[in-house]
């Protein structure tokens, strides 16, 4: 049984401009399906506006999905009553991008870490203190720093506190939304190392959302690439980075500047910018920028299909290998 299964999830926002303005629909998440296992890290990459953050928030139901199903530990949690949802939140936590904004500046670290335990009625006062102290030890912050306020810590320390807060309730799944994007490289690596260590220790699953392809590659077991609200490609991390199938993934991968001046790559430079998600192109949403687009791409909406074993892509120009007789539905 997978830990998390998402079926055709949609998140459409209505944007209304002004008092008498027209309504516009933003299809932030537009039919996303995937599964992830306990202990796995699924990376979600994509450029701004591709819907990766909305996906994370919708899975946590911080925003109710427009349609589709979210199945967590075999239980459909899409329409749970509030009380049950609260109990479930213990198992799913989120780490935000900005450690400055996501920690209440008026609370001490102790309070920040203890609050989730109190809210969910965990343990006695003493037991809670114990949990907090053992957590703080794991993230490399000293006990005597517990009564300090967030502003007294550096960016990296704050993000580690944010991670510790997510861990207090012993969750199964952590949705990490750009957790290291606001950090400098040397600090970023500290936080990534910590996340890997914690994953091993607690058998955590990460849904790791990021725009940074090298960070995603470093931490993920599988990677899904999103473009305008849809997954265009999903595969094991090695497979995806070695053998990208979708033209968008190919362009994305070659676009990343490598920190190695001795290697020069043939870069696929895409024309133009991301179209607006309020008005996505017809057919394949990528056809306006795709170097291999044909007239059919304008009309035909490609489906996510298994092209190679365990490697799914949604492009009509990528043909499944003869050997793998793939089916249409997601395995």
């Amino acid at each position: 049984m997978p830990l998390l299964e998402i079926k055709d999830l949609k998140q459409h926002f209505i944007i209304k401009k002004g008092f008498l303005g027209e309504k516009k629909k933003v299809k932030a998440v537009n039919g996303v399906s995937f599964k992830m296992e306990q202990g796995e890290t699924l990376g979600i990459v994509g450029e701004s506006g591709c819907g990766k953050s909305s996906l994370g928030r919708t899975i946590l139901q911080l925003i109710k999905p427009t349609s589709g199903e979210i199945i967590f530990s075999g239980k459909n949690i899409t329409h749970l009553p509030r009380k049950e949802m609260k109990a479930l939140r213990k198992d799913m936590q989120i780490v935000f991008q900005d450690p400055y904004a996501s920690l209440n500046p008026r609370n001490t670290v102790r309070t920040i870490l203890e609050t989730p335990l109190i809210v969910h009625g965990v343990g006695s006062r003493l037991e809670r203190a114990k949990i907090v102290e053992s957590l703080i030890d794991k993230i490399g912050i000293r006990k005597d720093q517990l009564d300090r306020y967030p502003h007294e810590f550096s960016g990296g320390q704050r993000q580690r506190i944010g991670i510790a807060r997510a861990l207090t309730l012993n969750p199964k799944l952590i949705i990490a939304d750009e957790p290291v994007s606001a950090l400098d490289v040397s600090v970023q690596s500290q936080v990534l190392n910590l996340m890997v260590d914690l994953q091993k220790e607690f058998n955590l699953s990460y849904l790791f959302i990021s725009h940074d392809l090298s960070v995603v590659q470093h931490i993920s077991d599988r990677v899904a690439v999103m473009y305008l609200g849809k997954i265009v490609e999903i595969a094991d991390v090695e497979e995806l980075y070695r053998n990208p199938l979708h033209p968008y993934t190919k362009a994305l991968l070659t676009a990343v500047p490598l920190p190695d001046p001795t290697k020069k790559r043939d870069r696929i430079i895409l024309q133009g910018d991301l179209p607006s998600p309020t008005n996505p192109p017809t057919g394949c949403a990528f056809h306006t920028r795709c170097p291999v687009a044909t007239p059919e791409c304008k009309v035909e909406t490609p489906e996510l299909r298994e092209k190679v074993m365990g490697h799914w892509a949604s492009c009509i120009h990528v043909h499944p290998e003869q050997s793998s007789k793939s089916k249409v539905n997601i395995s």
């Binding site: 002004g18 008498l20 303005g21 027209e22």
Partner: protein, 337 residues
């Protein structure tokens, strides 16, 4: 086209607001104790006369009938007769309102001319002497009661030096110009009567400055804080990086970007002044709307109160609309939606 459609839309939206305001004023005024008929009839009238008058004025009908009757004549441009001046309220307003309008325009003119540059200088010379000076000046302007400043100015320029007149809109003996707009200065220009024009302007100076003192203070402070925020923006740095001089950056880039909150405040003070500043008008015996309103309330002059309230509401809505349209002229990011 977009701008026109937007404006029309906004004007149509005014209708329900005005109906709401008129209803509210009408019903609230009706619950206030005091009998207009008794007041109109005078203190020595006997009960029978009052009763007849009540019947004649329609005061015995249900309130909503009275309201509909009022609205019907309002739409025909009839605001009823004042119980105090015994002439149509419309005539009263035609007489008093232009005086207030003229004073407001004049004081707003001074405000913009002094307040905005003072704020800009204050922001660009932050913490330097010019800034300290402007800030103290602004603080004094805001903190000082208008009537007190008015009296001081009156004592000094009128009584002591005798260089400026202290009351009214024209020198005694001068006949007002032919009524076109009702504003003496403008009418004098239109009819080419320069003696009247000079006299009208001179009479505007003291009440104009008094009324402007407070708003200058507010506008200076608002301009300063708005400009300080704008001056921190990246595009200001870009403008300097291009080689722009301080003057060019301040007035060519920063001021227009800082205009939004200034415009809002200007609109609000403008709308407010149009209702007539009772204190300033009293100190300088300025025959404006503020004085008229106070009289109307004191004498329970119901038609006059109604008319003034509706007039002020309409003016506020119009000023707001103008400001909203100006926003869009200033900032292309706000489209007509």
């Amino acid at each position: 086209m977009d701008a026109l459609r937007y404006t029309l839309k906004r004007i149509l939206l005014m209708i329900p607001i005005l109906i709401g305001i008129s209803m509210l004023t009408f019903f609230i005024s009706n619950t206030i104790p005091g009998d207009p008929a008794r007041l109109a009839a005078g203190p020595y009238a006997d009960a029978k006369v009052i009763e007849e008058l009540q019947e004649k004025m329609g005061l015995n009908d249900p309130v909503y009938i009275q309201y509909f009757r009022y609205m019907k004549s309002l739409l025909q441009g009839d605001l009823g007769n004042s119980n105090y001046s015994h002439q149509p309220v419309m005539e009263d307003i035609k007489q008093y309102f232009p005086a207030t309008l003229e004073l407001t325009f004049f004081s707003m003119f001074i405000t913009i001319l002094i307040g905005i540059p003072l704020g800009v200088i204050s922001a660009s010379k932050k913490d330097k002497i010019a800034d300290q000076f402007a800030r103290v000046l602004a603080l004094i302007g805001v903190a000082m009661p208008a009537f007190w400043l008015g009296i001081i100015l009156l004592l000094f320029f009128y009584l002591k030096l005798g260089v400026l007149p202290g009351s009214g809109r024209l020198d005694t003996g001068l006949a007002p110009p032919e009524t076109i707009t009702g504003m003496y200065t403008i009418d004098a220009i239109l009819t080419g009567n320069w003696t009247v024009f000079t006299s009208a302007v001179i009479h505007l100076i003291l009440p104009g400055i008094t009324q402007a003192a407070v708003t200058i203070g507010m506008i200076t402070r608002m301009t300063r804080s708005s400009m300080l925020e704008v001056l921190r923006s990246d595009y200001i740095r870009t403008a300097f990086a291009k080689g722009g001089s301080e003057r060019r950056v301040l007035y060519g880039h920063a001021l227009r970007n800082g205009m939004m909150p200034i415009m809002t405040l200007l609109g609000m003070t403008f709308g407010h002044s149009l209702g007539g500043s009772v204190l300033v008008e009293s100190v300088f015996s300025w025959p404006g709307l503020g004085k008229y309103a106070v009289n109307a309330i004191t004498y329970l002059d119901f038609p006059a109160v109604m008319a003034v309230t509706i007039l002020i509401a309409v003016l506020f809505i119009i000023v707001n609309l103008v400001i909203d349209i100006l926003y869009q002229v200033v900032d292309p990011r706000l489209n007509y939606e």
